[in-house]
């Protein structure tokens, strides 16, 4: 068995004393961290840093001190390889003129954000001369794309023209279907109803308070305006893809 001698007296922070979760909000990735340094004999004034790294990417986040943890802005936008990041937690004594490492935990893989479930499954099938159509089953809408179009799978992911030709209409159709044809029930909304209304809310704020058509206070115009707003804001939030589309169209 190999013997390891720790000349530096540097402590190892047990992994179970650190909680590190990746988060995602509006496409912006960040992380949240929690620590338990109690009983480790670390001085209160020692600084706490979290370092995110992978390959040539590196970023350092100051989390205050052992006795006063303060969460900094943990957005990771300037890092290049977010998917594979590892983290390191360092406790540093900065009381002298050089920072001395008192304790460290390295190679931490963060907990992924809760598994994201697609609210719009995609199916590829032959469908004559249509590019796309929507079908609905008990679990909600399914986007069907015509599998006879060459490279449709790749185009669906990357082609900004297809993106803007399809998705604004898809969103509008689903919301109209949900409210006008699917008998939305605010007391017991189906899961996919809730998902899609939350999705719309991300872009256009809360939907109108009454979405049941049979109620007197149902306001048709208000509902249509909200759906319009969702579709408009969806387009605005994908400005990069729109710019690509314009450039492609300019080139013919």
């Amino acid at each position: 068995m190999k013997r390891r001698i720790n000349f530096t007296q540097r402590k190892k922070i047990p992994r179970d004393r650190i909680v590190l979760n990746l988060m995602e909000h509006m496409g912006q990735k960040s992380f949240d961290a929690g620590f338990n340094f109690q009983g480790m004999g670390l001085p209160d004034h020692a600084a706490v840093y979290v370092e995110a790294y992978h390959k040539t990417d590196y970023m350092r986040y100051p989390f205050g001190t052992v006795s006063q943890i303060r969460k900094p802005d943990t957005r990771m936008g300037s890092l290049g390889r977010i998917e594979n990041l590892h983290f390191r937690v360092k406790i540093v004594d900065e009381s002298g003129n050089k920072g001395l490492i008192l304790a460290v935990a390295d190679g931490i893989k963060p907990e992924a954000p809760p598994q994201r479930r697609s609210i719009l499954p995609v199916d590829f099938k032959e469908m004559g001369n249509q590019i796309w159509r929507l079908s609905f089953d008990a679990d909600g809408p399914i986007l069907e794309l015509n599998s006879t179009i060459p490279f449709i799978r790749d185009k669906a992911k990357r082609d900004p023209r297809l993106f803007f030709y399809i998705f604004p209409s898809v969103i509008r159709n689903i919301l109209i279907h949900l409210i006008f044809y699917n008998e939305f029930d605010s007391d017991e909304p189906e899961e996919w109803h809730r998902d899609w209304l939350n999705y719309g809310q991300r872009y256009a704020g809360p939907p109108p308070s009454v979405l049941e058509r049979e109620k007197d206070s149902f306001d048709w115009d208000e509902v249509i305006q909200w759906i319009d707003r969702v579709v408009t804001e969806f387009g605005i939030s994908h400005q990069d893809e729109w710019d690509k589309l314009i450039q492609l169209e300019e080139k013919g």
């Binding site: 530096t8 540097r10 370092e51 040539t56 290049g80 920072g99």
Partner: protein, 240 residues
């Protein structure tokens, strides 16, 4: 000028097969046109155009060109689309694998087709040039002061070590120690294993200091002050 494309998996496969044929003595031209069409490549962005006819005199020139070209692009998007680096390698194949008396000397595949493995991703001649230049600018010169087809020992020794290559202060300190400003090249003997304070010794010493000191928070000057006597010769070398 050409719109930037992204080589697909099938395009990468054909490119790899081409490399293999050249290694086996083939003399055909790189399949640029064939692999610049679907299904071998897809559009990445027409907002980014690259000059296919450029002859780069060095990797630093290549890195600087790409840094300018990609200035408005999101780093994460560039790095997660492996295919753009391979398409660029194909586009500039004459730069990174030049014909010499009718023969191309094809090196390991990772220099032309980006490896997803962290143990050799940095060997890609195109991505490596951009990555190091965009991170360190002037201080990438020890790595990139060589023809576009060369992967030098500085890159192999330093870029392969994550603790080192991510430390800006340390990279600046390495430049201070080993770059010869007067001659515009690395100092003679800096990679010689027999010389005191050579680059390999520095890597060992940094590995020890890193256990004690918070090196990532230190400036180049502070790191230089920590180094033992054997590096004094390099510190004092009157070239700056």
């Amino acid at each position: 000028m050409k719109d930037l494309l992204c080589l697909t998996d099938s395009g990468r496969k054909i490119f790899a097969e081409y490399l293999q044929r050249i290694r086996s003595g083939g003399s055909e031209s790189p399949p640029r046109d064939e692999l610049s069409r679907e299904p071998y490549s897809t559009a990445f962005s027409s907002a980014i155009q690259v000059d296919e006819s450029t002859n780069f005199s060095s990797r630093i020139e290549l890195g600087e060109y790409l840094h300018r070209t990609f200035q408005k692009s999101d780093r994460n998007t560039l790095l997660s689309n492996y295919g753009i680096w391979d398409w660029l390698a194909l586009l500039w194949f004459d730069n990174i694998c030049p014909l010499d008396q009718g023969i191309r000397k094809v090196r390991e595949t990772a220099r032309y087709i980006l490896s997803r493995d962290r143990s050799d991703y940095y060997r890609h001649l195109i991505l490596g040039s951009w990555d190091l230049y965009s991170l360190y600018g002037l201080y990438s010169r020890l790595f990139l002061n060589c023809p576009p087809y060369i992967h030098n020992d500085w890159t192999e020794q330093l870029a392969s070590r994550q603790d080192i290559i991510t430390n800006k202060g340390l990279i600046e300190a390495v430049d201070w120690l080993y770059w010869d400003d007067k001659r515009g090249r690395p100092k003679i003997g800096a990679t010689d294993r027999k010389r005191q304070g050579n680059i390999r010794r520095l890597i060992m010493v940094i590995g020890q200091l890193d256990l004690t000191y918070d090196l990532h928070a230190m400036s180049a000057d502070e790191i230089l002050l920590l180094l033992p006597e054997e590096f004094d010769l390099w510190k004092m070398y009157p070239t700056k």
